[in-house]
Symmetry: C2
Subunit: 360 residues, 2 copies
Amino acid sequence: MAVRHYTLDFNLSTAVECASVVPGLLSIFHEQELAETIHDTNGHGYLATFVGKNGRLVILRVHSHGLVTIDLQCYEEDNAAQLDNLLNSLEKKLKVILNGNIARTKKLPPLVRGAEVDRYWPTADGRLVEYDIDKVVYEEDSPYQNIKILHSKQYGNILVLDGDVNLAESDYAYTQAITGNGKENYAGKEVLILGGGDGGILAELVKHKPKMITMVEISFMVIDGCKTHMRKTCGNILDTLRGDCYQIFIEDCVPLLKKYVREGRTFDYVINDLTAIPISTSPEEDSTWEFLRLILDLSIRVLHPKGKYFTQGNSANLTEALSLYEEQLGKLSCPVDFHKQVVCVPSYLEQWVFYTAWKK
Amino acid sequence: MAVRHYTLDFNLSTAVECASVVPGLLSIFHEQELAETIHDTNGHGYLATFVGKNGRLVILRVHSHGLVTIDLQCYEEDNAAQLDNLLNSLEKKLKVILNGNIARTKKLPPLVRGAEVDRYWPTADGRLVEYDIDKVVYEEDSPYQNIKILHSKQYGNILVLDGDVNLAESDYAYTQAITGNGKENYAGKEVLILGGGDGGILAELVKHKPKMITMVEISFMVIDGCKTHMRKTCGNILDTLRGDCYQIFIEDCVPLLKKYVREGRTFDYVINDLTAIPISTSPEEDSTWEFLRLILDLSIRVLHPKGKYFTQGNSANLTEALSLYEEQLGKLSCPVDFHKQVVCVPSYLEQWVFYTAWKK
């Protein structure tokens, strides 16, 4: 049973004495049969809490610098019309009491806390966003990560790995960007996909009749979940691990890349669709950047001299992480040039950077 | 001075006695010198509030059905590291106390309440979303609406009319969709734009050398704000109200449309870029739908028999409002066919429906 948490805030043009605000509101709380507690705030304005009989909790704060905040917590199955009435009454009354002194009123959609289906999946740049998720379609823990597939009315099913939105069925823009925006000629080419367990890239590229696509995905469980629940993304391509012009290896890409380097094998395209680069740049994560650079280095080493390397980067807002990534591109054993592109991937709710790199 | 409001929630696998949770946490609150009040909840679990010396407020609830919620409110300039520590201590301690009984831990990015720059602009389908807005670039009240232009790091400047995100500088996808996805030939054509005060459509279409674009925007203040602050959208097209192949009338489009109908004047393209259709379908708003139908009807009457009518619809999730709109399309004095398209407009944070209509 979830808790709905409403907030209703008033920015005032000038600070007010709580004595002028509070008494006028109390009648509303008393009507609701809420038990009142007034707290000592040590000079930080007025604070009262009101507890109702059905688990309702109201918090009223009149901050001394000119902000009134109201919180209303209730159970999900509580009478929504009654609560709307309560909030509307409070809003109306405050508008009368603070006549002309309100610079802004803000009533947000309620936070739903502890719900069976979690709708809040913050962006990579740390913003609070609510998705229209109504169902958990798939959830498993693999040895590598927590795998969820969530249903959204507008985005279709969404693959979420360790809490990060990876790809939704609406996100053909992602597949387009990471395969070169439809400007590449894959016909007869050798392609290597690192990761890509949702099958989106593979399903797109087989249409172009490449010579062979080799995909290396560490997690069979991701493939297994996506082949059932992300069919708008992968079609039937994941139904078998081997087709006319593709083969999927379920293994860690690093040893395989090292083997290809030893064998001198090259690919016309290397597409890195592994999970996002780490956002934290704290010193204890140096090893993550080193790991990323290792994969980058190996990828470029198996790239044909005229080949292209495509990868996703990060949120366009995470400029520090993007700079660090570009720094790694300058430290490879084989020098590369690169360009980047900002793309709107529908389900991400933030702009995303994609990179193309090639040997100098 | 804003309030940061953190939430930290624990879904439990099985309900617990608050007696087993609360004592272990109290030492943390006491360390923080928080004054405790325990509330009578009439059998709805445990509820305690803790007030600190610097305006901090912590609310701890152990709901009897297996949910623990913690709220932490503090002032914006409060010591963020200390607060992180407090939340981390609470999280760690609860993980020890509830050993193995936690099904989900959720710590959301804090809500920032009462801030000078408001970052929360809910979607048309009513979801809570936080934008990366760091500056109010322009704000005025016209006789028609509240006009804001807000700066977002990733979307550029965003035009917000009466609290609705209208268009950001990143949103060329909107302009493309409402002008026919680049598949129309505007050369030598007569075009009528209803609304369009941000100048995006006008700036796009003049490139195609139409015979004449007539744009009718009711609000000069929208044009005035956009011509200064939305230049990635409008370029210099709004610097003058009249150019080689366009003219902008600052007036209500309805009388003008009626005049055009009387004169028998027609256009090859009519592009309705007025603000979104109403979401509410409550009876008292019937008149809004009637008004919408009037505009639709007049627009189709001034449309050349082989012309096309483009308009934005609504959030893809507002299926009821979309159906009602399509119902209006069936009630026009001149029968039309239509199709619709779902488009990702970057700054909307939701999928949006666009319509194309033409005379049967």
